[in-house]
């Protein structure tokens, strides 16, 4: 019996010794920047490429996907405790944020969606978008950047709250909106700009580098947008999307997201819903069934087969590469564009 106790005790001690994680050790001489999930990490990576004073860490594991039902792990909490800046996507994506705030009241949070117009969240299945105004509603009253920065100057928590109160209307809107803005090159560039401005403030020594990186990234997004115009898909083609974020891809491709079916663990479309979507797809002559390689893919496939089309699997950029390889926003988005283009050319043949 005594032997067992000693054994257990030593196991406990051993485990406690293992508990100090290398990842979360605070980097004294550099700025620890934590991103909430992979797309923000990807953008932050573009902005901070080559910066020595920045220690960039992604919080949610790169295989997590979207953050909708994310719960913070113990590791995440430790990470945030040691973070100087927390870059979030915003727009309601980080629903666990209140938890984080409660734990680390002095954490500087940068909402990268600040000042960016969102598409409306719910597309509903079929013909909810007949009225285009209802579908794509932009906030024309975008804030000036200088203005935003005045707010961000004040890092204290209380101030941030005041700031939220002042702009209650805007925030309300943001929560209704579709937060997957990184899938729109135009908006991703704005997100990167928000990141660059915030980081430049905290690390002025490398401000020039951030600006140069931002400029390069902006050019890449412009190339992406130009590419979408080159592709010979007639404007106004309609698409069925099976990932909430793909409304932004559709917008970039110059398509209208006419049908949206979003399945997850707790929500599966009924037979009637699929039947109506199939009718809608036939009526509207939808040629694009855009799915991510997730749970929605099987519905995309079933519907595409139903109307004699092929689905196109696109990359929502929510997951990182398996190995620690260089990742680029431009390359991955270009691959999306090319997949759509390929599909269109095969159809024409």
């Amino acid at each position: 019996m005594k032997g067992i106790k000693i054994w257990l005790l030593s196991v406990c001690l051993f485990l406690m010794a293992c508990g100090t994680d290398v990842n979360t050790v605070h980097h004294q001489d550099s700025l620890t920047v934590v991103t909430s999930f992979y797309p923000v990490y990807l953008l932050a990576q573009e902005v901070t490429a080559g910066a020595k004073g920045i220690h960039l860490v992604n919080m949610a594991q790169p295989q997590t996907g979207c953050l909708h039902d994310y719960e913070m792990t113990i590791g995440d909490r430790k990470l945030l405790e040691n973070a100087d800046i927390f870059l979030i996507n915003g727009g309601g994506m980080e629903q666990f944020l209140e938890q984080a705030l409660a734990q680390c009241p002095h954490l500087q949070i940068v909402d990268t969606s600040e000042g960016i117009s969102l598409l409306e969240e719910e597309m509903h299945h079929h013909h909810a978008c007949e009225n285009e105004d209802a579908c794509v509603h932009g906030h024309e009253d975008e804030h000036e950047h200088a203005d935003e920065h005045e707010h961000e100057d004040e890092h204290e928590h209380e101030h941030e709250h005041e700031h939220e109160d002042e702009h209650e209307h805007e925030h309300e809107h943001e929560h209704e909106g579709n937060p997957h803005i990184w899938l729109s090159p135009e908006r991703a560039a704005r997100q990167a700009e928000n990141i660059a401005l915030a980081l430049a403030e905290s690390d002025p020594a490398e401000a020039d580098l951030f600006a140069a990186n931002l400029e390069r990234f902006r050019q890449e997004t412009e190339r992406l947008m130009a590419k979408a115009e080159e592709v010979s898909i007639p404007f106004g083609e309609k698409a069925a999307v099976f990932h909430e974020g793909f409304a932004y891809l559709a917008e970039w491709f110059g398509m209208e997201a006419e049908i949206g079916i979003f399945a997850d663990e707790y929500r599966e479309p009924s037979a009637l819903e699929l039947a109506e979507a199939a009718d809608g797809a036939r009526q509207e002559q939808i040629h694009f069934f855009l799915a991510a390689g997730d749970n929605g893919e099987k519905y995309a496939k079933a519907l595409a087969v139903e109307v004699g089309e092929k689905m196109v699997v696109l990359d929502p950029l929510t997951m990182g590469p398996d190995a620690k390889t260089e990742d680029s926003y431009y390359a991955r988005m270009l691959a999306n564009m090319e997949a759509v283009e390929r599909h269109w050319k095969e159809r024409e043949r």
Binding site: Q63, T64, P269, S270, A275, N295, A302, L303, V305, M319
Partner: protein
């Protein structure tokens, strides 16, 4: 295939205007009778939660598949499911604890192990498609795969029917008649494991366990002998899947859950009938 499609289209049901509904219909009439048959034995042997344990072990199978770097975790799922089934029968045969306890122990352990592996490697968002099946998304090729696997299972069932029945009635009696009890039991759990793992991708874990247990349980309420027990279970399985599918189409509800509910209704009806008869 075209012939079957044509026949279904000629029926006066609007739901058969859609290929995916035809596929779902065909998948249900393929899968449900087999599950009902396997279920009759599972119910006899007090193994109602066995398929649940297997379903949960699919997590672990996927986790192992990820660790091994397999692209398609199906083989890891199959291997682990069969392994788990064999271990469960082994421990059960030792008679130290009752079978429901054994199954529950392994079910929890397998589920937890799967979650631990998957959480360490970054969550299973990527693989959830393997666990959350939906019968509405069965494709034409998938139907052929299902049909192939099920054909083998039906043949095995026909061969093993008598020894299985004997084992489920009384193990010692079966042994005295020259039946190799452990072998028969092992083959049975392997069949269930294969059937569960192959169909979980299309049917989903909720539906699988219900399809296995509910029709058999309902049949047991009213069946007179072993023969009628199996037939009634098969018919109940067909009824619940077809009625469930049709109702889900009309009421705009989830297909899988509606099938399960229909089977549950059948159980309560037969329960009432059984009570009245006594």
């Amino acid at each position: 295939m075209e012939m079957i499609y044509g026949f279904l289209e000629s029926l006066p049901f609007s739901m058969f205007h859609y290929d995916f509904m035809k596929n779902a219909f065909l998948a249900s009439i393929l899968i449900t009778p087999l599950f009902a048959l396997l279920g009759t034995m599972a119910v006899n042997n007090k193994m109602a939660f066995f398929s649940d344990a297997l379903g949960h072990s699919a997590f672990t199978g996927i986790g192992l598949g990820v660790l091994l770097g397999l692209n398609d975790p199906l083989f890891a799922m199959l291997a682990f499911g069969i392994f788990l089934g064999l271990v469960i029968t082994r421990v059960k045969a030792a008679n130290m604890v009752s079978s429901d306890t054994v199954i529950s122990v392994f079910s929890s352990a397998a589920l937890a192990l799967g979650i631990v592996i998957l959480s360490a490697s970054g969550g299973f968002a990527k693989y959830s498609a393997y666990l959350i099946g939906d019968i509405l998304t069965v494709g034409q090729k998938d139907l052929l795969v299902i049909a192939g696997v099920l054909l083998v299972a039906y043949v095995l069932w026909a061969v093993l029917y008598n020894p299985l029945l004997l084992v489920s009635v009384n193990r010692s009696l079966a042994a005295s008649r020259g039946v190799r009890v452990l072998l028969v039991e092992n083959i049975f759990v392997m069949m269930v494991a294969v059937a569960v793992m192959v169909s979980i991708r299309w049917v989903g874990i909720l539906l699988i366990n219900s399809l296995l247990i509910l029709p058999a349980a309902a049949a047991r309420n009213i069946a007179g002998g072993a023969g009628s027990y199996h037939w009634t279970a098969t018919v109940f399985a067909l009824i619940s899947s077809l009625v469930g599918l049709t109702v889900s189409y009309i009421w705009n509800t989830s297909a899988g859950a509606t099938m399960v509910l229909t089977a549950a209704v059948l159980f309560f009806l037969t329960y009432a009938i059984g009570r009245l008869r006594k």
